[in-house]
Each structure stands twice: as structure tokens, then as C-alpha cells.
């Protein structure tokens, strides 16, 4: 019997506010549907990060838990060692910020990150960046447009060695003024997209899986394709949603 592919979900109670734990479930399920055994290993705050997992997944979280997560991660070298050993990482939102060189918390204090991604995040005076996002991935990744939802107050600037995940077509992404979204360093992928991002973008899920397991058989994704079409259309043409606007007005007038 083959050992199942292990997907570690890091600190779901700290970095799991936006449903990002779903990314681990999507990865595992897409392997099982291909008859490849897979398991999700939840790693809670205070526990040592296990080496030997093939993929590590981190999600978004609130400010104080994010600082706590960064503190926990820095207390050991397990994640960096796993990446050196060939593991892949998907880090979303607060996860992305924690994997960078440093990030500024809500209190204005700078915190050191893990340095697995060449980027820094600070806060500006602007409002939180909230809403639907469409991203055209960098051509070398060979992925279709990404759809997701962002909700963050950070401005992430990429260092000289960093490559972005893609260019923002709708929304803000890294919000650093260069139109970039996310950051990729080998098998480590950071993004601001929730949704969860892998549920809405199965090609990105398969890209991560293939980066550690090699080429994979295609899967039927009809139901996701319909959702993707709906989301991409809605993000690109927000003004075309008259029925929703009309019902919004009715609700406003009715007062519910």
C-alpha cells in the first residue's frame, strides 16, 4: 500500500477565517478522485510542524492570530526545511504576508516573517481592499484566469528576486501600484485570493499537485466551470447585475 500524499493545513484556528481550509480539502479530494490516496493533517498552534508532508497550506486570518502564527512558525525551521526538501506551499492572504520577509500589524509594529517569499507587507491609510478579483496568471504558469475574493488591509511590495502570480484585471491584489497579484518562488505560491482559491481555480490546484507529484490525469470539472464562468462574468461586468441591484433597492425600501 502506497503512503498517502500528506497535505498539512497549518494553524486552521489562527489562519482559517475565510474558509481557506477548503484549499487542503480540494487538494486531497482531487488526488482521491484520481485514485491517489491522500490525507489532510491539521497542525494546531503549539504543535510542531511535521516534516515529510508534500504540500503545506496556510490561510487568511485576523491580525492578532496572524502575529501569533508568525511567532509559532519562526520558533522552528520545519517549513523552510520541507520547502528545501521539495515540498510545495500555498499561502493565502495573512499566510502570504507571514511567509514574506516582514509585515506590519494593525498596531503599526513590524514583525519578522519567514522569508520564504521575497516580499514585504505594510499598511497604508487606505480602506481595506475588499471584493471580487480576476487575475491573469504569468504566461509561464500556463493557467487560465483566476477568480477569487480579496479582503485585506495590506500593501505587498515584491523584492527583486520575486515573480508575481499574475496581473490583476479586476480588484487590487498586492496593491503595491504595479498591478501584480500574489508571489511565486519555485513551489511556494502566495496569493490574496479567497473563495477558497483552489475551489474556484482547479487548474491552480492541479498545478500545485503536479509540482510535487509530476503530471496528473485530467478531471471532469463541469460544475466548477459553470461557477467560474458566473464569477468571472460577475467580476468583469458588475453593472450588468440589474436583477440583484433591483432586489437590493427593494430590500432597502422595505427596510430589511
Amino acid at each position: 500500500m502506497v503512503d498517502p500524499v500528506a497535505i498539512a493545513l497549518l494553524y486552521p484556528e489562527l489562519l482559517g477565517t475565510y474558509g481557506d481550509g477548503g484549499n487542503a480539502a480540494v487538494l486531497a479530494q482531487r488526488l482521491r478522485w484520481r485514485d491517489i490516496p491522500a490525507k489532510v493533517v491539521d497542525v494546531h498552534a503549539g504543535e510542531a510542524i511535521p516534516g515529510g508532508c508534500q504540500i503545506y497550506v496556510m490561510g487568511g486570518g485576523e491580525d492578532a492570530p496572524q502575529v501569533l502564527a508568525a511567532h509559532e512558525l519562526r520558533s522552528g525551521s520545519a517549513l523552510g526545511d520541507a520547502v528545501d526538501g521539495g515540498a510545495a506551499v500555498l499561502a493565502v492572504c495573512a499566510g502570504l504576508q507571514v511567509l514574506g520577509r516582514r509585515f506590519t500589524g494593525e498596531d503599526g509594529k513590524a514583525h519578522e516573517g519567514l522569508g520564504l517569499l521575497d516580499c514585504e507587507t505594510h499598511r497604508d491609510d487606505g480602506a481595506r481592499r475588499v471584493g471580487e478579483v480576476v487575475v491573469t496568471p504569468e504566461p509561464y504558469l500556463d493557467l487560465p484566469d483566476l477568480t477569487g475574493y480579496e479582503n485585506h488591509g495590506g500593501v505587498t511590495t515584491l523584492g527583486p528576486s520575486a515573480r508575481p502570480l499574475g496581473r490583476v484585471m479586476v480588484g487590487h491584489g498586492n496593491a503595491g501600484g504595479d498591478g501584480s497579484e500574489g508571489i511565486v518562488n519555485g513551489r511556494v505560491v502566495g496569493t490574496y485570493l479567497h473563495g477558497p482559491v483552489l475551489a474556484r481555480n482547479p487548474a491552480l490546484a492541479d498545478h500545485l499537485l503536479a509540482s510535487v507529484l509530476g503530471p496528473l490525469a485530467p478531471l471532469e470539472d463541469l460544475e466548477v466551470d459553470v461557477l467560474r464562468k458566473e464569477r468571472l462574468h460577475s467580476a468583469r461586468h458588475p453593472h450588468m447585475h440589474m436583477p440583484q441591484l433591483a432586489s437590493g433597492w427593494r430590500r432597502l425600501l422595505r427596510g430589511d
Binding site: 484556528e13 477565517t17 477548503g22 501569533l68 479567497h194
Partner: protein
Amino acid sequence: MTWRAGALPCWAKIRPVDLPLRTRVAALAGRAIADASRWVGAGEGSVIGGRVTLAIDQRALELMAAGHQSVAISGTNGKTTTTRLLAAALSTRGPVSTNSAGANLLPGLVSTLFRGRAGAAVALEVDEGHLAEAIAAVHPTAVVLLNLSRDQLDRFGEVRRHAADWRLALAASPGTVVVANADDPLVTWAAGACDPAADGRCGVTWVGTGQRWRADASACPNCGSRIRWTELRTDRGGVHWQCSSCPLARPLPDAWLEGGDLVLADGRRLGIRLQLPGWCNLSNAAMAVAGAMALGVDPGRAVRSMSRVRAVAGRYQVLNVSGARVRLLLAKNPAGWAEALDLLRPPPSPVVVGINAGVADGRDPSWLWDVPFDRLDGRLVVATGDRGRDLAVRLRYAEVRHTYEPDYRRAVALAATGVTARQPEVDLVANYTSFQDARRALTSGGRGG
């Protein structure tokens, strides 16, 4: 075209209290707009009317609230039900004014106060994102703080923000009695600003509800360290929790749930017999009893009055839809779903699930992935609502048998087809605006959407 009795003449409705002229004019204008809104069939008009009043006189809420005994109820889940139960308890003693239509932002509160009879007790459901403003304006006699968990994060960003805002507002309203859920660390910290040990100005009544949702309180709201739950140590209706580095810990409850009973610190034991199902409603009732006691209501009478509440704004209502008995349940976030899953009829009974992502729902339904939908395995689930497609994908990954149908009536019919009973029973669970859409579609005979 007929004027409804309540619509004319609006000036006659103004309470003869000594409000300043500006406030009276503001109230009159708001009332007229509300009546006009009702007359054209746009709705109850309490929100638009309240907006007009507040636009003319910003202090209207504060001035109108003066002289009323009032209680504000807030939290992520259970606001409407707890307010309904608390209003029932207060009604044992005299007239009560309450925003039963769920208009829980400041304009809705203005309208509620304005409609209230002189001397009526006021039970106000307040949106958790606006409780701080409401406390500052109303200075309620008591506040009931239910729980805080992830919901509508696109609108509010962080759950903790609410706790911090509540804490500041309570510190600035020292005369307000606080009734708080001792099993929710965020709520405990928010209420703690009024801890008599801290400043001696006002009291907190702690209620042990035995709340099970913990996913939003893993980091201490006070210092950011980890919160530890000690499963082996249960006192007074709940599991002990404490911060791993600062003194924040579960306070010893003054009232707590044991089975279906509410136990008071003086030894009294009150059987809570509700017509509303589930632990969440027992918890709501416990909070409501404590809230009523803060306003001087006898707890025994409060409990008896609450036992007569059947459905709350359509929740738990059973409708007959083309021969099927459809029970309506509201679940709008992961904590609410954790409770709703326990209330469902057992498999293979089918379920219709409606998901919208309007402003009032939160525009981002990513939270669907925080709900253990695999627990719906063994039955047919019909996904509906504006974001039924997101739910369908979620159910696909959970390997739950499902189908997508945007029309609410057809969704119910689809769910019922698989049931062999002569009168099929279907549970419909929906989030906030989807619930309203479903209720409208299923009661009017019209189409949903």
C-alpha cells in the same frame, strides 16, 4: 386606494412628551415618510423613516430613548430570537416596544422608539457592527451580549473589531447593566470593561450557555496569546477556558444551563420549556431570562411567557408547499450552521439549502468551506439561491448527492420527489436574504430569486 388606519393622521401619533421642537419635527417627518413608504407598498418603512428622522436631528435617538427602560440585544447569532423571547418576558409586566421586523440599525431603532407608547419597556435588537453607536446614543438600562463569530467579513473585516468597539462603548456607559455569555472569550473580554473588580462602576451578569463554537476565539482578544480550553474542568454549565498568558479567563457564571434548566446562583432552578428547537434556542432563552431579570422581571414569569413563542420572523415556521411540509431554518454563518445541522431531520430526509451573497449576507461566501457539509451525506441536497453554484461545488467536494435549482418552489418540489411518504417533509435552511426570498416565494406561490 385606501389609507390604512395607521397612516392618517400622522401628527396624531406623536407622543406628548417634552421633546425639543427639532426632534418632534424630525420624528414627524420620519413618521410621514414611513407611512408614505408603507402606503406605496415598499415595505414597513421603519428604516427609511428612521433615516429621515436622524438626518434632521442626529440626537433624536438619544432624546427619544430617555425615560424608557430599555435593553439592547446583540451578537452574531440569535439576536432576533433572543429579542423576541426577551420581549415576551418583558410583556408580563406592561407594554413593550420592539423592532420585531429585524430593522436593527440606528434608523430602525429610532422608529421603534418612536412607535413605542410612553413608559413602554423597549427591547432592541442591534446589529453587532452598530452596537457601540447604539449604546452611546441610547444608554440602555441593560445590554445582552450573545456571541461573536465570523460573519460578513467583507463588511467588517475582523470579528475582534466588534469586541473592541463594544468594550469601549460599555466603558463609556457606566450605568448600563451588562448580561454576557461567559462561554465566548470575545464577548467576555468585551463585557469585561464593566467588571466591577476593574472599575467598580457597574455589574456584569455572566451566563454559562455551554457554547460550543470556538473557532473564532483561539487567540486571546486581550493579548493575542493562545486561549486554552480545559475539557476536564466544567463548572456551572460550561468548559473552563483561560488565556495562556494574561488573566482573561472564563468568569464564574451567575446563571447557567444544566440540561433544559436554567440554574441561578441562589439555587433556584427554572425549567425552560420552549417551542423552539435546539441548544441554540435554550442558550438564547437563558440570555433572555438574565436580560429580563436585569430589568426587574421575575424569572419564573419570564420563562412561562417565553414558552409561548412559536416561530420568530418565520424561523422554524412550517409551510405547506404543494403537499410537502417545509420547515424553514435560518443559518447564516459557520457557527449558525453548526447548530442547524443538529436540528435537521435525520437522513435520508432531503434538505434544500439557499445561499445568497447580498450586502446583508456578506458578499463573500467562502465561509461555506468552514461548514462540515459532509454531515449531509446520505440525503439529497438541493442547492438554491443567488450563490447556489458555490454551494454545489462545495457539496461536490464533500461528496454529498446534490442538484442545483435556482427557483425556490421547484427546489422544494425536487427535494420532495425522492420521499415516499404521503406528505413529504423537507427542511429548508437558508442564509439571511435567501431565507427572506424563500419565505416570500413559498408563501406567495410566486417564483423565488
